[in-house]
Amino acid sequence: MKIFKFIISKIFLRKAILGIGMILLLCMANYITFTATRSILSTFQGYRETEYINQEGVYTANLDPNSHIDMGVISENGTQAVYDYLNNNFNYAFYTDGFIVSVPNSYDMKISLGYMNEQYYRLNEFELSQGTDLDFDYQLDGEIPVLIGKGLSKTYPVGSTIKIDEFVLGRPVTLKVQGILKQNTYHSNYYALNSKTYYNFSILIPVNEAFINNANMDLKLNGLMDIITLNTTKEEVTDLSKVIKDNMGLKFNFFSQQENYDYFNEYYLHSLKIIAITTFILFIVITCLSIWNALVSVRLMLKDFTINLLVGLSYSKLRKIFYIYFGILSFINLTVIFIITAFNRYGCWLRKDATFATYGLFGLIGMDWLSLLVVVLSDIIIGMVIVENMLRKIKKVPISLRVLQ
């Protein structure tokens, strides 16, 4: 430890610019690795979540990108006719969210309402930390059983009621807390699997036929955009597409399991490949720059190392010192990455951004920790490459020649 302190304070810190340069380069390598890993993990997480739509007989609705929504043409009756057709001929999963309401809570967060029918609920298999499963057989004028996120559980424990002005029904309703969702339960965007909405400050409202029939156009239209038909055939969804076109003037596409797979391979996998390759190239470039920086350090500190080697420092001890030094630099960088991530995550709490607020140490969730682990691994690789190169460079010049230098 004495030797380590001496070498760090008398050799490395005397040329602090080189150390700072190394920290900044490592920081970039870490940031790139961290961001790429998180993107890839988040996309795979989203893909796993949506695996249920990649099943035989399941078709996912997508509004044709060339189709233009003309609200003047879409009528209440036309939309209802589509839902009547759906109710009579299909088994379908309905889900929509993003309706914001003010519900008093201990964090002063705006609360997001999510609406789902029984099929969607069964498909997703939401995990609860408290309470019981949702009941979809309720009366609209009575208490509606709901699931709430962990962030609301202190204010509204299981069994308590929440009174809100229900926007989609256009009247006040009483919600009864049936269960508390596990912390950090999320929903991935079908069109951007790496983008997520967290349910920590959400209320999930079960919707049944009566609810949809009484709801306003916003709910019906938004729900239709992501509708998932189950146990269906291509012909049946083609007919449904025609019904939507006739009644609402919108062109809908329905994608099958195979089409979803193809889409994933073509779109997501391709994007992930590009991310991985780009990251790899950048990682190599930064590693090369770090090696250059390290060799420059050796060139400037050669005399100091040599004198220490002359008076008894062994190469193995020097290697150990280098590894500890890079360990410290990596630790500094990891801390920086941790702080940036925590700042982003915790920032959601400070900004009262309910859809992104997460639970964990400073809001860091599983994929953040996993990404940090990958960063540690990448640092070990860079550290090994750099330290071994430095030692090789030092050993290459005979001590006698170095003394002359």
Binding site: I17, G21, T35, A36, S39, Y191, L272, L300
Partner: protein
């Protein structure tokens, strides 16, 4: 060339460092105007393009390291030249001019590339300005090596 502190290898090294930074900046400008239809890629790249200036600035550390190690390596040369009739003022001016010439060459190449690709030149000039500051700071450091 002999009066200069720069050898061919030093010129190439500094050229590469400048080129790397300008190329990185160019790459950012290119990524920004790329018409990507992949949300994942867009979201991934946004993590970098949003911080273009900071990231490029961080990478300019390679130029700082170059200046630092260059002067450190040349301290004997500076002293020897002083002994045989050079002045610290002339050495400093020559050093700064050499750096500036290399910078202007790389900056011109980068400007041409930016103009050809119809990119905004502001970030290019901003980077040049930063490098000029580095040159001026490092030129001030030359006098540190006046005495052996």
């Amino acid at each position: 060339m002999k009066k200069s502190l720069f050898r061919i290898s030093d010129v190439l090294e500094l050229c590469t460092a400048y080129m790397f930074c300008f190329f990185l900046n160019l790459l950012f400008n290119y990524v920004k105007i790329m018409d990507l239809d992949s949300y994942i890629l867009k979201a991934f790249l946004k993590n970098f393009t949003d911080y273009q200036e900071i990231i490029v600035l961080i990478f300019t550390v390679v130029v700082i390291v170059f200046h630092y190690q260059m002067l450190h390596r040349k301290k004997t040369e500076i002293f020897c030249k002083m002994l045989v009739g050079d002045t610290i003022f002339n050495i400093t001016i020559r050093y700064a001019l050499n750096c500036l010439m290399i910078l202007i060459f790389v900056c011109l190449l980068s400007t041409l590339a930016n103009v050809y690709l119809k990119f905004n030149l502001i970030s290019n000039f901003y980077l040049t300005f930063i490098f000029i500051i580095y040159i001026l700071i490092s030129a001030r450091e030359v006098r540190k090596y006046e005495n052996f």
